[in-house]
């Protein structure tokens, strides 16, 4: 069964990222951004009959029920998605599946991240405390990775970048070019964390190396924020005020969690996810007007461009040299600035690739609007290139 054209995004909301929140609960932020998305869709909360959320600090378990109760909605479909950075894209995929299966019709997909400023003397997250503060001892990672300082995501993407540079020609300047283009985009997006702060290739290469070969300006900055979309059936979408952004294709692929056990460090599961999405949509790579590609690091974007089929394997460096990746260039990439320059608000950072692609196709992006955009490619990436969800959006079903 194909999902092509069965469902559409009809409402979008996103908080302007901030460095910190003071006293906010993730639950409260989820509810606020969710209500904004519902209003944006021209709906009332009582119209919502499906909810997709992430596990969050106040509800590491029973997350959907907590959200449903807090918002006071009746859900015929209530789901939690645990795909790391791919969660936002995976939420849209699951909402479209549930709608297509007839379980529900108007689904709120919602993500948020609070971020409290902590003093150096305050409590620290212990090495073996996982997402949402749950202890995760006796895992393969606490037993076989954390004792070696293999903690967080930086080292994993550095291992990919080092291996990539061993197998293929790639210059540090080429990776830096991705960060610079996305910063240019952010400088046209007043909501971006780094609005008004343009950077050059030299700035990137002169920023400190955090993990070889990745410089500070090639690594996302964690921020607080929230993002939500409303997905509904194509039939309902046509009755609502926003121009529908149809889900034309979707694909998903997961092969590992730790990069050590990935089948291949430089060939990610994006290929299978993207191939499935393009096949479902019946859209060609050259039809894509906007690439909204998960960008926790510059190397993530480079490998994603290849595995999604926009550049041949090993030719990502040449691709970024030959194309202008700015929103006003020939290959508009992450027009909101990407997470590198918009900010990474936890799981909502991944959702920002969905919200931006949807807003662009709705024609709501002001100064950074990509002209005449009909098709967008979205990729969500979770873990260390572990969980991949690709989506193709279009303005017509």
């Amino acid at each position: 069964m194909s999902l092509k054209g069965k469902a559409a995004i009809v409402g979008v909301a996103e908080f302007k990222p901030s460095r910190y929140t003071q006293g906010a609960t993730t639950l409260g932020m989820l509810a606020e951004v969710g209500m904004q998305a519902v209003a944006d869709a021209g709906l009332e909360l009582r119209d919502i009959d499906g909810l997709v959320t992430e596990a969050f600090a106040e509800a590491p378990m029973f997350a959907p029920a907590t959200m449903v109760e807090y918002l006071g909605i009746d859900a015929k479909f209530a789901e939690v998605v645990d795909h790391g950075g791919a969660t936002g894209a995976a939420m849209v995929l699951r909402a479209a599946m549930a709608i297509s299966a007839g379980l529900c019709d108007r689904v709120l997909c919602v993500t948020a991240a609070r971020r409290e400023q902590r003093s150096n003397s305050g409590p620290r997250r212990s090495a073996n405390t996982g997402w949402a503060g749950r202890r995760s001892d006796r895992t393969p990672y606490s037993e076989f990775e954390e004792p070696y300082g293999a903690i967080g995501a930086n080292f994993g993407y550095a291992l990919i970048a080092q291996r990539y540079m061993h197998e293929f020609a790639l210059k540090p300047e080429q990776l830096a070019r991705i960060a610079v283009a996305q910063r240019y985009n952010a400088c046209h997006n007043p909501d971006a964390m780094f609005y008004g702060q343009p950077i050059t290739i030299d700035d990137v290469l002169n920023s400190p190396v955090v993990v070889d070969p990745l410089h500070l300006l090639e690594i996302v900055m964690p921020v607080a924020g929230a993002a939500a979309v409303v997905v509904t059936s194509a039939e309902t979408a046509r009755k609502l005020p926003q121009p529908p952004v149809y889900i034309l294709g979707a694909g998903e692929h997961t092969t590992h969690r730790s990069i050590t056990y990935a089948p291949d460090l430089v060939r990610s599961p994006i290929k299978a996810a993207a191939d499935a999405a393009f096949a479902m949509a019946g859209v060609r790579r050259e039809d894509i007007d906007i690439a909204s590609i998960y960008d926790c690091y510059t190397i993530t974007v480079l490998v994603s461009l290849e595995d999604a089929g926009f550049a041949p394997k090993g030719a990502g460096g040449a691709f970024v040299d030959e194309h202008n990746l700015q929103f006003d260039g020939d290959f508009p990439l992450n027009p909101h600035g990407g997470q590198l320059s918009f900010g990474q608000a936890g799981i909502a950072g991944g959702m920002s690739h969905v919200t931006e692609a949807a807003r662009q196709l709705m024609g709501r992006c002001g100064e950074r609007q990509v002209k005449n955009a009909d098709f967008a490619f979205v990729n969500g990436n979770g873990g260390i290139m572990s969980e991949q969800v690709s989506l193709i959006f279009g303005r017509d079903a």
Binding site: R124, A127, N128, D137, R138, P140, S142, E143, F144, E145, E146, P147, Y148, G149, A150, I151, G152, N154, F155, A158, L159, I160, A161, Q162, R163, H166, P208, V209, V210, V211, D212, P213, S258, I259, T260, Y261, L265
Partner: protein
Amino acid sequence: MTQEQTVYNRPLPAPGPVTQPFWDGLHEGKLVLQWSAKGQRAIYYPRSVSPYGPNDALTWRECSGRGTVYSFTVARRPTAPQWADAGDYVIAIVEIEEGARITTNIVNCPPDAVRIGMPVRAVFSAVTTETTLLFFEPA
């Protein structure tokens, strides 16, 4: 608690019945891994079922401890607070002769001298009286 345990403040493994033979091996200075008859290779980390499917037999086997650096990075900033005093250190994936890939640190080598493809051998380092970790050094 011994003096060593109070000094060592980095994360330590909490082995279970399935993984204990591996840790016992390290304690004796041996790299002992599960060998997959079907895959004809060592698997890492130890697990209760074979990733090659239900018709596989996993048997514990001592490995050579020899391998090569598959990829590595030098952490110029600590990856966790417990490494704040470590200086630059190398997090690596080592591919051992028996086929498995292992997350580890390359030790007894200046970080900037590490290269992909570099031959390495196992180092068994008792970080506490109870725990021996598996590092690698240039062979």
